[in-house]
């Protein structure tokens, strides 16, 4: 059995590929891209919510939000480490991000306008992320699958916290309820877009499904998310901004309106409302930290020399 056959057999038996195993170049490249984009998303995703830490209106919410953003930094760390097991280099990946050569989830290119956005991001954005990510806990690439198990656990904790914040706000003042509805209006459609283009137009799905680094199609996951969110919205008392949204007993699923894919492509290709600011803040942090990283390297080199 040659290397490729061995690899195929491992996949077929639903066993995991580990860093030292032989793997096809295409698999390695696709995995690196997938993991790196996921890592970048965690890091960029710190910004829109992180902006509200210093302004959080209660100390408890401040602590919850700070802990959540810290978790996102942690997720970024595991994921860059997973990418490194595939031979990628973290500095190189960071440079790809800040030079716009590698993408991150386009959901983070929307602004957070009120504190209700923190709750809605937890509810809808983390909710959508979980739908996407739970199947990835069975990804064929071992280090990624294991990172995802830990990440999913934390994400569902974040989702519950976000939803709980919204429940509290909905039982507060009218101004608070209005904020929640407004945030829901703004984040609903972008959340649906998180699952990517419709299956008919999704180029990589077939190969990724074959390699078991993707387990469900975009449209399947999107449908699951809609079905999950509708009763949550009802319980919350907010209206989802889609007049065509309704239960279809025949399909056993909710029907929903047409997604504006032209808008989606604009945001993905760098023209969303906050793309420029997100990347430039990341670049600035990286550049401002240059002298610190250089100092740490110089110090380590001196210590090594002294020890030799």
């Amino acid at each position: 059995m040659d290397l490729e056959q061995h690899f195929d057999a491992t996949i077929a038996r639903d066993q995991r590929i580990e860093p030292r195993d032989w793997m096809p170049e295409g698999y390695r490249k696709t995995m690196i891209r997938q993991v790196a984009q996921h890592a970048h998303s965690e890091i960029i995703g710190m910004q829109p919510e992180g902006d509200w830490i210093t302004r959080a209106p209660s100390l408890r919410r401040k602590a919850v939000l700070l802990a959540k953003v810290q978790d996102e930094a942690g997720h970024g760390l595991y994921l860059y480490s997973a990418a490194e097991t595939l031979g990628a280099d973290r500095t190189d990946l960071t440079e790809r991000l800040i030079e716009g050569r590698q993408k991150y989830s386009s959901i983070f290119n929307y602004p957070t306008l009120t504190f209700a956005d923190v709750g809605v991001i937890g509810w809808l954005v983390d909710g959508a992320a979980i739908c996407n990510q739970v199947p990835l806990c069975r990804s064929s690439y071992g280090p990624y699958a294991r990172a995802m198990i830990r990440i999913c656990k934390e994400e569902s904790f974040h989702q519950r916290q976000g939803y709980e914040l919204l429940m509290t706000m909905m039982s507060g003042t009218q101004a608070q309820r209005d904020m929640v509805q407004d945030a829901t209006n703004r984040w609903w459609w972008p959340s649906l877009m998180m699952f990517g283009p419709p299956d008919a137009e999704s180029a990589n799905t077939a190969q990724s499904m074959a390699w078991k680094i993707k387990r469900h199609t975009n449209d399947e996951l999107r449908q699951r998310f809609v079905d999950m969110s509708v009763p949550q919205a009802e319980k919350l008392g907010v209206t989802l901004p889609d007049p065509e949204l309704k239960w279809n007993a025949e399909r056993g699923h909710h029907d929903f309106g047409e997604i504006d894919w032209v808008h989606f492509k604009q945001v993905v290709s760098g023209n969303g409302p906050c793309n420029a600011i997100r990347v430039s803040r990341r670049r600035k942090a990286h550049e401002d930290g240059e002298w610190v990283r250089e100092a740490a390297a110089a110090y380590a080199a001196k210590r090594k020399e002294a020890a030799a």
């Binding site: 100390l59 914040l165 002298w291």
Partner: protein
């Protein structure tokens, strides 16, 4: 009870404002590892602030602003600058990573020594907060000390910046110590050790303290921190 309330309030304010300055580094740290560490330290201090403010309020309910909010939130969000009792060290704004590490080293070394003493406080709540805090502060101090040494003995540039960071922080050191010579000696010994390891000079303090209790940095910090809470005084979050 007056003494207890005051101690808790002052210690709580220090932790709250220092935490705020750490929160500002979110998504701006030099490495992801520091992102995690700074958030962690910010969280520890925020946790201490919450416990201490709640304890202060319980010991002297008269100091809590009358609003329809929990004690900790009433104290954090509905007091004005002149009613905050934090040391000026924690409120200073701006500065680079070296300044942040210089401040954190000073703050954590001082607070660790304080909390070690309070671990035997007569009030069991305060004592318990102190015991928990000692563990946290030990980590904070070590994190800061490692960076001060690394930057001090890293490149020529980082050495200069670290030295500048210490110089900017130093005028606010004296006021941390009333006349507890033992506390000061303990602090000085740690700082001397860290500076020696980092090939750094301990600055000569000469800047005089201000007349007033706060610097001009506190008011804008509070304006930001309190903006949402004050816009919705009747809200529950």
């Amino acid at each position: 009870a007056g003494e207890l309330a005051r101690s808790c309030l002052w210690l709580g304010d220090d932790a709250l404002i220092m935490s705020h300055r750490l929160q500002e580094w979110c998504a701006a740290a030099p490495e992801l590892e520091d992102e995690v560490a700074l958030a962690n330290i910010g969280l520890d201090l925020l946790g201490q602030a919450r416990l201490l403010l709640a304890r202060a309020a319980k010991a002297d309910p008269g100091m809590v602003p009358v609003v329809d909010q929990s004690d900790e939130d009433a104290l954090a969000f509905f007091r004005d600058a002149e009613d905050f009792h934090n040391v000026r060290l924690v409120e200073l704004g701006g500065g680079d990573f070296a300044f942040l590490m210089a401040r954190l080293l000073v703050f954590a070394t001082w607070r660790l020594a304080l909390l070690q003493r309070l671990a035997n406080a007569p009030d069991p709540v305060l004592a318990a907060i102190a015991v928990k805090g000692v563990k946290e502060l030990t980590y904070h101090r070590d994190y800061a000390a490692r960076w001060v040494v690394r930057l001090g003995d890293g490149t020529a540039l980082s050495h200069d910046r670290m030295q500048d960071g210490l110089a900017d922080v130093w005028p606010y050191v004296d006021e941390l110590f009333d006349d507890d010579a033992e506390l000061r000696a303990e602090f000085d010994a740690v700082i001397a050790q860290v500076c020696a390891a980092g090939t750094l000079q301990i600055p000569v303090v000469s800047r005089i303290p201000e007349q007033a209790g706060h610097t001009e940095h506190l008011e804008p910090l509070l304006a930001e921190m309190q903006s949402v809470a004050r816009a919705h005084p009747d809200a529950t979050w």
